[in-house]
Symmetry: C2
Subunit: 442 residues, 2 copies
């Protein structure tokens, strides 16, 4: 299920790209996340790249310069593609080959230092890295499910199926956008107030949701469930996901078919896919408490119990227009541990395919809001409201829900003694008003 | 909003393809539905075709033979594409051009009779005609919503938002399949019986849903709602949809996020896209009763009131393995009128984009189960159960839900005095057992 550790994970490795050797950076040589970019201001066909320190290694250029070796289909996909899909489809052995090849190119002790294959991150326009067929959003944090459920069903906040079924809904692919693209406050139907009719207008309860997403690698066949211990062979890597939500629209529309327009105006993802290989040192036990009902057989495995978890710290930060004006800088809203999620990613894959539903390379499986039991670990504003802890900003502003001009930044990282820190970069998005403006432009 | 009537709709038109002149046929020269096919048994790249009588007009061959005229991008899309997406993206004027060009080729009074451009329907392997980005399923029949709601909420069967919001959920694109592909009975979690734990196994409540689907033509831009009177400029045509449902899985998983694995094992569509142009003679008034609350402004228009409806008769037929064995032939389970749907297709488009969600060419918007108020007009078996009318087959077999070996066939057609009958063809699918077998093969 998990990928082997090899010399690409060696914490002693250093790169000839000096900025990659900062121990506090997101993109050391042990990470090597994949993305799609072009040089800012150019209209070139987008190409694949690997983040390294404050640079991007241009994989097309590496191919042209014959900098790396590997199976021909891997080298061709790295050199020719304009999205990660082709590489994702090749599966875990191909991903491992590319990782070893790129690690070799970037090592300080190698002879392949080639600055001509680098583009400064600051000059790179990062794109949505994947052409997404289907986007699924799970609900895998039991803390989040219970806190939010309390608002609607105080007597039994957790749905009766929760501990048996990794609950999820289908999201909208067409409105997936990459970090940096602003999100316009959506309009929609807001519930009737005081027995009146519903009204149509800008949402008054705009929220973020702090999530991780898994990119599907090799697909699965129609009618063929993926066994839980094979699940990770169908994954390529992970990203940050902000599942923007309009809570007033959601409350009005979600019975009985679930969320629809309250979510489909935008879902933001981070540009770098942190690979399953890079995360190998951070596997940990699954979080399901010993006293809970055991999962049904297709969702159970000893390996999943022992190593199904993923020790990633996730954070959400907020900067209001006023904070920007005062130069205060963003404030951390929450921090939580992905290892506390009730359902593991392998369980999500096994569940998703248990009815025969095929996964395709580049499908996105998001985790649902990542919350923890600590006071500062609620992964969305609705949940803060539910536990009676609305956010107060350093300017004295209060945030029951998001205001125009707010910038929400999600971050994630792994750290463990004896291994290099692995960062996810960020997913950072500013909220525009319903007419597309921001407070600064008024 | 609606397309003009022109000489392509003339009921007196006849084709040199003799079978197209049968007044009871689905595919007269006034219809001209588009699909994608290749000759059975060959591995050619699939190509576009038009159904005409019992033949398919091969549009690639037409292009090679220079049989039709039109704007170059339309002729190129018709000749070169392997799915309808490219043509769909060109928008309504292009669709009108192609219709006129094909009508000219096929007219008995023309000089372009070219049997070399025909392939018998019996020799054509029909494909899923569209590469579907996103698939949305509405819930637009108030009769269906009320009947089904009664099972779960006897006191207030209709959700309070129903008359205000065209309710919908996101479906799964990866499991869309074309008519003729059998559907395997899916496994999944069935609810606990008598306080026990849930169990995993083949669904015991497999159901069909009789729906129409609209194929999106020209897309819409992110953040730009489509006005209701512009909605049909974003549609290409219609098909039959069978939204297969596992009711036991659905009951267990659907709170609070809506249906997921209970639907995503398969959704079947008919192979022919009946164009918006072909349906122009069958527009009718929207069905919303005068006493109901008026829709919010973005869902309201005088043109929609007058012409938003679509007068299509839809039918579901069932043939069990036993009926096949006895040579009885299929039995009609239901017949309903699409014109009775509470929400029009234009309202679905306006609603879907009202939050800025972009539509892309080839997206599928399905209507939800089409049911009517008559006794024989319930569009799925769950609804028959709700109204206390389970199906009894001519063999004496009863059908609370579907059995292995059952073949469900959906049909639809338009008929109106003074116009040619327009048929949708069929969506016909056999249910296999969970292990992939059928009763005949035992």
């Amino acid at each position: 299920m998990t990928r082997p550790l090899d010399d690409t994970h060696d914490p002693g490795l250093r790169s000839w790209v000096a900025s990659a050797n900062d121990p506090a950076g997101d993109f050391p040589i042990q990470n090597l996340p994949l993305g799609v970019f072009r040089r800012r201001g150019r209209s070139d066909v987008p190409r694949l790249g690997v983040a390294i320190g404050d640079q991007v290694l241009d994989l097309r250029r590496c191919g042209e310069l014959r900098l790396f070796d590997g199976p021909p289909e891997v080298v061709a996909a790295a050199r020719e593609a304009s999205s990660l899909n082709r590489l994702l489809a090749l599966g875990p052995e191909a991903h491992g080959s590319l990782r070893r090849a790129v690690s070799t190119v970037l090592r300080a002790d190698g002879s392949r230092a080639e600055p001509a294959a680098l583009v400064p991150l600051a000059d790179a326009e990062l794109r949505l890295p994947v052409e997404v067929g289907d986007y699924t959003d799970f609900y895998a944090s039991i803390v989040h499910a219970r806190n939010v459920g309390r608002l609607f069903r105080p007597d039994h906040p957790l749905p009766p199926s929760y501990r048996h079924v990794p609950l999820a809904y289908h999201g909208r692919s067409s409105s997936l956008v990459v970090s940096g693209m602003p999100v316009k406050r959506p309009c929609g139907q807001r519930p009737p107030a005081g027995g009146e009719r519903p009204s149509f207008g800008p949402t008054e309860r705009l929220d973020y949701e702090l999530e991780l997403g898994a990119w599907v690698g090799a697909g699965s066949r129609p009618g063929q469930p993926v066994a839980i211990d094979d699940a990770e062979r169908h994954l390529g890597g992970f990203c940050l996901v902000n599942d923007w939500s309009a809570r007033d629209l959601q409350a009005w529309e979600a019975q009985p078919l679930g969320p629809f327009l309250s979510k489909s105006f935008a879902t933001s993802v981070s540009p770098w896919m942190v690979t399953v290989d890079a995360l190998a040192p951070f596997r940990c036990a699954a979080a399901r408490p010993a006293g809970d009902p055991p999962p049904l057989p297709h969702l159970a495995s000893a390996r999943n119990d022992a190593l199904g978890g993923l020790d990633v710290t996730v954070e959400a930060w907020l900067e209001s227009a006023e904070m920007r004006r005062c130069g205060i800088g963003p404030m951390r809203l929450s921090r939580a541990r992905f290892r506390e999620m009730y359902w593991t990613v392998a369980q999500m894959v096994a569940h998703h395919t248990s009815n025969g539903c095929p996964l395709r390379p580049g499908d996105l499986l998001a985790s649902g809001t990542v919350s923890g039991s600590e006071d500062d670990a609620a992964g969305c504003l609705l949940e803060r409201a539910a536990i009676g802890a609305p956010a107060t900003l350093p300017t004295g502003e209060r945030r029951g829900f998001l205001a125009d001009g707010d910038e929400v930044t999600l971050r994630a990282y792994c750290s463990r003694d004896g291994f290099a820190r692995i960062g996810f970069g960020s997913c950072s998005v500013r909220v525009l008003s319903a007419s597309g403006g921001s407070p600064e432009s008024r």
